[in-house]
């Protein structure tokens, strides 16, 4: 059995101002955690609440995002919108 704990991560730069934001449609989320794994800033986590499908949806931590869009690239449910600026 494989044990995989995510791709290598950089240390989040918490002192920098957020350059981007994402909007997650939590009703579409199926809690596959791919966005959490690929996010270089660890700006996404899995919520403790349930969505209407019964999954724990991904939720956005506002301060850290820089709008790279890797989460949206990997999201199988196309549930993420990315804003940058």
């Amino acid at each position: 059995m494989l044990h995989f704990h995510g791709f290598p991560r950089r240390v989040p730069k918490k002192d920098m101002a957020a350059k981007g934001k994402i909007i997650i449609d939590q009703s579409l989320c199926k809690s596959c955690e791919l966005c959490v794994t690929v996010c270089p800033e660890q700006a996404i986590r899995i919520a403790e609440t349930f969505n209407t499908k019964g999954y724990h949806p991904a939720e956005f931590v506002v301060e850290l995002c820089r709008g790279c869009g890797l989460c949206a690239t990997m999201c199988p449910e196309v549930a993420i919108e990315v804003y940058r600026g």
């Binding site: 494989l2 995510g6 791709f7 199926k30 596959c32 690929v38 690239t73 199988p76 196309v78």
Partner: protein
């Protein structure tokens, strides 16, 4: 802030029926993004398979003609010959394209039909519950090979992309993967080139996409990506297998 990424217009608002972490929905998004970007929405016709992606017509906001199991390339041939100005592509899984539809695929490629095939390879029959497919790797456990596939009994994995690459009618044959965001972006580039090859009328184009199937591999979605990268990419190395456009450029130069 400026919106830099949102749902493609050609992708309907319907929620996907695929399992968590499935690669099909990523490929659906890439295809619809390209249809938007290349302005093909009015003339694209998709031929979906029998398999997990059988309900692709629920998601693609373009014309779709369902095919019998494995006959995608044959039906796409008919559509393309009747309507040569349309953009016709098949969307097939490994059970559809490499098992029951091998003859149709090989002969459509050999005739050099001006169609594009998107071949989603996840090494199992996904829809029916994870049975062994022709593309299942040696040693891989499935419900019909519970001790792992053995070459003595079940034979070797069928590499249909390599077979198609040998045919003169094929213009662009490439294998890509969905294991990391960079590879997803590379997959989109490969799909764009395959679409352009068809629009230029150069011949048959085939894009094999190695795709995760966490449910039938019995791993988590994140572990499935690692399995894809460490195991499947060894058996099926990604890369361009045939590209006549490059050869054509060299001849001119």
């Amino acid at each position: 802030m400026k919106k830099v990424f949102s749902r493609p217009q050609s992708l309907k608002q319907t929620p996907f029926h695929y399992c968590p972490g499935c690669g099909h929905s990523i490929i659906h998004r890439l295809v619809t993004e390209l249809i938007d970007e290349m302005d093909l929405r009015g003339k694209a016709i998709c031929v979906p398979p029998a398999g997990c992606a059988v309900l692709a017509y629920n998601y693609f906001d373009i014309d779709v003609c369902e095919s019998a199991h494995g006959r995608g390339c044959a039906i796409a041939t008919g559509i393309k010959r009747a309507l040569p100005d349309r953009f016709v592509f098949t969307y097939q899984g490994d059970g559809d394209m490499a098992a029951i539809g091998t003859a149709e695929t090989i002969h459509a490629a050999n005739r050099g039909e001006r169609i594009t095939s998107i071949f989603v390879n996840n090494a199992v029959y996904g829809m029916t519950g994870g049975q062994m497919a022709p593309t299942t790797m040696i040693g891989q456990k499935t419900t019909t090979s519970p001790f792992g596939r053995r070459s003595v009994v079940e034979g070797y994995p069928l590499k249909i992309t390599e077979l198609v690459a040998q045919l003169d009618g094929a213009a662009y044959v490439v294998r890509t993967s969905l294991a990391t965001p960079a590879k997803v972006i590379a997959t989109k580039k490969a799909l764009r080139k395959a679409f352009e090859v068809q629009l230029e009328g150069l011949g048959y184009s085939l894009v094999e996409v190695l795709s995760p199937c966490p449910t039938n591999w019995k791993v988590s979605p994140v572990e499935a990506l690692r399995y894809l990268e460490e195991r499947m990419e060894k058996e099926y190395p990604p890369g361009v297998l045939k590209d006549v456009t490059k050869a054509a450029q060299k001849k001119e130069g």
